[in-house]
Structure formats: C-alpha cells, structure tokens
Amino acid sequence: MFLQVLAQLTEGFYNTLLIFGVTLLVSLPLGLIVAFGSMSKILPIKVITRLFVWIIRGTPLMLQVISVFYLPGLLFYYPMRSRMTAVLVAFIINYAAYFSEIYRGGIESIPRGQYEAGKVLGLTKWQIFYHVILIQVIKRILAPISNEVITLVKDTSLARVIAITEIIMAAEIAVSRYAIVWPLFFTGVFYLLFSGLLTILFDKLEKRFDYIKV
C-alpha cells in the first residue's frame, strides 16, 4: 500500500512540477511581450493589452482554468482534448499578465536620465535598452518576480478543478481511501521544500546584483 500511495503521490508531484515549469518557461518571456504591448505608442495596441491584463488580473485563476477547459467546446464545438493543455494555457496567460505588470513597473521606474544619457552618447534605442536599462530593470523586478514564482508553486493546486491529479489531490485521494495521514505531511513538506529552495535561489540571484545601486 505504501508503495502504491507513493506512486500516486509521485504522479501528483510530477503534474505539479510540469505545470510549474512550463508556466514559468513560457509566461516569463511572453510577459515581456505583453509588457511592451501595454507600453506601446500605438494606442489601440496599448488599450487592448491593458484591458486584457486588467481582465486577467481581475478574475480568479480558477475561473480562467474552468473557462479555458469548457469554453472552446461549448462555444466553438472544438472541445479541449487534454485537461493538462487547458491548465497550462490558463496558467500561462494568467502569469504572463502578472509578469507583464511587474516588467512594466520595472521599466517605467528607470529614470528618464538613463535613457537620455544613452541618447546623447549616440547609442541606438536597442543599445540603450540592452546595455543600459535591462540589467537595472532585472535588479528591480527580481523581488516581485520571486514573490510571484512562489505564489505559482501554490497556485498549481488549482489544476484539480478540472480533475488534474496534482499533488494535493493525490494526497487527498490516498487519505480518504486508506484513512492515513502521512500523505498530507508529505505534501506539506514538499511545498515547504519547493518554496524554500526557490527562496534560497532568488536570494542568491539578488545578491549577484548587489553591486548595482539604483
């Protein structure tokens, strides 16, 4: 029985990690594109992007997951084949929206003088962004990004609303089926270790930028 439960938990563990990893991998760069959209000089692009970000940030992720899973089938007769795909799409969109706001805040917080100093030195727009602005932005957004990433660890549990067996659901099944408690502790420890590890990682990363004082 122990091994059986462990196998189930491992599957949950795998799903949780999958959601976490893929979401981060796609939404971190996608968020940057969304951020550029929300700062665009072309008004329609800016308005549409900001409206989109506002809607995503203003509604619960759980609702978004359910919508992505059911709406294509109900509205366009094109049902979602895979539950996991639905979860990933919803998570990626959601996190890209959050990351985009962090990026935008970071970019907008860089003083105008930095751009102007670059300009009068004859640098191109791209050179200014890449060689002057970017690393200052990274330094400024590291802390809010780290918060968001740790939230994502815990948000992965929402996948269960469309019956994806992530780790908590796996634990709950085992607990109710075999009347044992250790899977709950196991799950708790998993979350603690996971977010603890990320905290350490981000601390290390932030230290590497300590030499920049902005």
Partner: protein, 258 residues
C-alpha cells in the same frame, strides 16, 4: 565663418513660450556661458541643441553645414538623427552615470558600442584611462558610481562625454547638484578643458566661474537673449536692466579674481 551657429530657435511647451527666437554664433574653441534666472529656458536650449527636445522652429549649423532645420530634420530616420546627435555632448546636472558599470566602463561604453570592432578595444580602454586620469580619477577607475562622491561622479560623466570628442560640449549646471565643497574640483576640471579646439557651452549659476572661463556670456530671460557679450561686458558693464537686476541679486561678482 562661425564654427557653430543657431538661428531663430523657438520652442513652446503647450502655451508656455520657453524659447523665443534664440540665435547666436560661436567660434571654434570658444566657451559660451549661459546664465539666467530659473525657468528662463537654459536647459531647454541645451536639450534642443542635443536633440533631446524638438525645437518648433530654427536652424543649426556646424562648420557652415546645415545640421538641423526644425521644419524638416526631425522626420529623418532615427539613424540619421543619431549621427547628428554625435556632434554634441551633454553633461547633465544629475550626472546620469550608469549604475551597473564602473567609472572606466561608463567611459568606455559608448565608443565600444559605436566603433564595434575588437581591434579598437585596447585603444578605447587606453583613451578612457587617459581621460579619467585627466579628470583626476586614476585611482577610482574600477569603482561603481555609488562608491564615488558627487564631484567624482560628475568628473566621470565629463570623461564619458569627452571620449566621443563632440564638436560642441554642453554642460547643464554641472555643479548644481553638488555640495558646495565639491563644486571647486568639478569647475577646475571644466576650466582645464578649455583649448583652442574644444567648443563648449556652459549653463551655470556660478558667476565667478562663468566670468573666469567664458569668452562670451549670454544672459537669458523669459526665453530670450537679454544680453550677450564678452564676460567683462556682461558682468562689468551690463546694459539691460534685467541683467543688472539679476547680477546685483547675486551680488558676488565684484571682480575678485583668483
């Protein structure tokens, strides 16, 4: 023929008239000090010269060649404008050093990116070191901006502007953000830059300094040139009432040369 010439610069911000028909000429190697009350348009003028702000109208010539005509030039490509900007350098009141780079890296960044070929790398580094030594910072080359005093930061900014060897180097109140005891070192450096082929425009509230360094002095009031002449003419024998009032309010230019 004048080396640098500005004709009929005008600039409004909304309904505020900030520059109202500014024209002047400079010879090569000349130092022009621009003085005037707060809000008279000095910074705006320097920003227009450096293409950071678009003049509403006016023209600019370097070496007799038309560089800017406000009616047409601004619609040129980004790249063309960037090339034109390279004729000028600007040292800001607030230094605007890049915090992620050391003093040396700050100075080297622009030439490195502009003349990107690895053969020049060594040359650029040596030139940067020479310039930092020249502004008295040989021992601070590998320090980050936050490890430097304001006066030292401003001297790095000066070296950074010098390395591109602009035709006209502009300073916008280079010492206004500094504690009084640090202004001297920066002013001394700027003074040492004066040479027969370095043309400079210095906006300053330091009248003593202006009088010492400037070949010509331009007094601005309400976006107009209220008075223009040699340092002695403007400081000792001002003709305009506004100039007299401005100078007497400062009241510290009694000619006590160093």
């Amino acid at each position: 023929m004048a080396f640098f010439e500005i004709q009929n610069f005008k600039k409004n911000f909304g309904t505020t008239e900030v520059l109202n028909d500014i024209s002047f000429r400079m010879e090569k190697g000349e130092v022009l000090a621009i003085i005037g009350a707060s809000g008279s348009g000095k910074t705006t003028l320097l920003r227009c010269i450096n293409f950071l702000e678009k003049a509403d109208c006016g023209r600019m010539f370097i070496d007799g060649k038309l560089l800017l005509d406000a009616q047409t030039t601004y619609s040129e490509s980004e790249e063309q404008l960037r090339q034109k900007r390279l004729h000028f350098g600007l040292v800001f009141q607030s230094f605007n050093l890049f915090p992620q780079y050391t003093a040396l890296q700050n100075v080297m960044l622009a030439p490195r990116l502009i003349y990107k070929s690895s053969e020049n790398e060594k040359e650029i580094e040596e030139q940067a070191k020479r310039l930092l030594a020249r502004v008295g910072l040989s021992d601070k080359m590998s320090n980050y901006p936050h490890e430097l005093s304001g006066g030292q930061q401003q001297r790095v900014a000066i070296a950074r502007a010098l390395i591109l060897n602009p035709d006209v180097l502009c300073f916008d109140e280079p010492t206004s953000a500094l504690d009084p005891e640090l202004t001297g070192e920066v002013l001394k450096v700027i003074k040492s830059l004066k040479s027969k082929d370095r043309t400079m425009i210095v906006v300053t509230h330091e009248m003593e300094f202006a009088r010492n360094i400037a070949d010509k002095v331009l007094f601005m009031a309400n976006g107009m040139i209220e008075e223009y002449g040699t340092a002695d003419e403007v400081f000792l024998f001002p003709r305009s009432e506004k100039t007299k009032a401005f100078l007497s309010k400062l009241g510290d230019v009694k000619g006590n040369e160093e």
